[in-house]
Amino acid sequence: MSRVVVALAALVALGGCGADDETVVLMAASSLSDVFSEIETGAYTDLELTTAFAGSTTLVAQLGEGAEADILVTANNDAMSRAIDDGSVAGTPVAFATNSLALAAAPGNPGNVVGIDDLADPGLVLGLCAPEVPCGSLALEATAGLGVEVRPDTEEPNVRALAVKIDLGEVDAGLVYATDAAAFGLETVAVPGLDDFVNEYLIATVESDPPAAVSRFLDALLRDPLIRAVLTDAGFGAPSSGGAS
């Protein structure tokens, strides 16, 4: 019963003012925070852009409890599917970009990390993202696929928190997104086969019939060459098929 009430309230709120004609609210995975600050959104929309960055699962949970947004970008399919199942997202998801992992070491590489097998070393302080978040589930997939048994000392709630701890030297090494390693200027160790494991970022409008301005903005995010260039420079890969999942 209460679920119905909350859902109704959310629908009323969303239907009422998802985009009042002044602002577009964008919720995006935390790994995209640098990219969006670089995109000169003023050039693509005369609306005011409000952004919220957090782990994809946090964003989905917030939307599920009635938070307002116009566009959602998640770092993997699971999170987007959950948002759709919750009824928070009504638009059709489209592939936005891809991201792969990098084995990042603390400045100066004090742990002398040379390969992925070092992740099994109990003498090193190692970090991963929590398996519940996209970065963490990809890391588990990758380590299993590459045959390494990792025993992390911490499972951070989002990839940026992990990148910060590596950058501070509190963690000897960890698996973060290639984009975050680049953003923080972290030293990375080449691991053959690691970039076979990829997370597909999905983007969708919250409403199935969004205001024209929101659709225009979404279109720009997907097709504008300047925005695509910013993504590529940051280390994101092109979306695979571009089809909905």
């Binding site: 209460s2 946090t58 949970a61 911490t154 499972e155 709630p157 701890k165 509190e170 963690v171």
Partner: protein
């Protein structure tokens, strides 16, 4: 009246959404039991540290005439007003492996605090200490030094006076202070996750477990939240508002 609603509504929300039928099953899952064990170890150890460190500190503030007393008190109260994540960040910069003091701890003793249960205890102690110290200090100020002076006149040394006169007088306040410190240590999140990280069975306390569960298994998060809420309520009822009415 409005304040009561503001305070009571979230609690009512929790109780109303709770998964009553699967409560026991959720609260006895491996992840939750691990978190309970870690929480107990961390909160009880932190409370013990608060007693050991806080009693002398409270005595200094409540009895001794310190130069710069206001500054000392401000420093003691700081963790109370500092946002927990800021506290955790500060701890990281001071006691982390590359921290101000932490780097020496690591170099000389091979002692690292981040990502260990000990680190979680340090974070919890840091935020809980002011609660203990203020409660005890306030009691010391209330029960002036008269009895202690009488004891001194009768020939008792300072240590004997402390144990046999001061402590029994303020015992209720010490008890209340410990209860508050324990509740605060149990509920700590921001400082713990920033300084000690999060790993099941080692540093993932109940609040951290709740945060993780909220995103993937909301029902379990609700169950744990209710558990923590009940514990907090029990502590408050046991104190029966005594410390509030000082």
């Amino acid at each position: 009246m409005i304040a009561l609603v503001v305070l009571g509504l979230p609690i009512a929300g929790l109780i109303q959404r709770a998964p009553w039928s699967s409560m026991v099953e959720r609260l006895t899952s491996d992840a939750v039991l691990d978190a309970v064990r870690v929480s107990l170890i961390v909160s009880v150890s932190a409370t013990a540290l608060c007693l050991v460190l806080g009693l002398p500190l409270a005595w200094m503030l409540g009895r001794a005439r310190l130069p710069g007393e206001r500054v000392v008190r401000a420093i003691v109260l700081l963790p109370m007003v500092l946002p927990p994540v800021v506290a955790g960040t500060a701890l990281l910069f001071a006691l982390g492996r590359r921290g101000l003091i932490g780097q020496w701890l690591d170099r000389w003793f091979g002692l690292t605090l981040p990502f260990t249960t000990a680190g979680a205890i340090v974070a919890a102690t840091f935020v809980a200490l002011p609660f203990f110290v203020t409660t005890v200090e306030s009691a010391l100020r209330q029960h002036g030094p008269n009895l202690e002076e009488a004891a001194a006149v009768s020939g008792a040394g300072p240590v004997a006076t402390f144990w046999h006169v001061t402590v029994p007088t303020i015992r209720p306040a010490i008890g209340a202070g410990l209860a508050l410190a324990w509740a605060r240590a149990l509920g700590e999140f921001g400082a713990t996750v920033t300084f000690a990280g999060s790993l099941g069975g080692r540093t993932r306390t109940l609040p951290l477990e709740t945060f993780l569960a909220l995103e993937t298994d909301r029902e379990s998060a609700l169950a744990i939240s209710l558990l923590l809420l009940s514990i907090s309520l029990a502590v408050l009822v046991a104190l029966r508002g005594r410390w509030l009415l000082r």
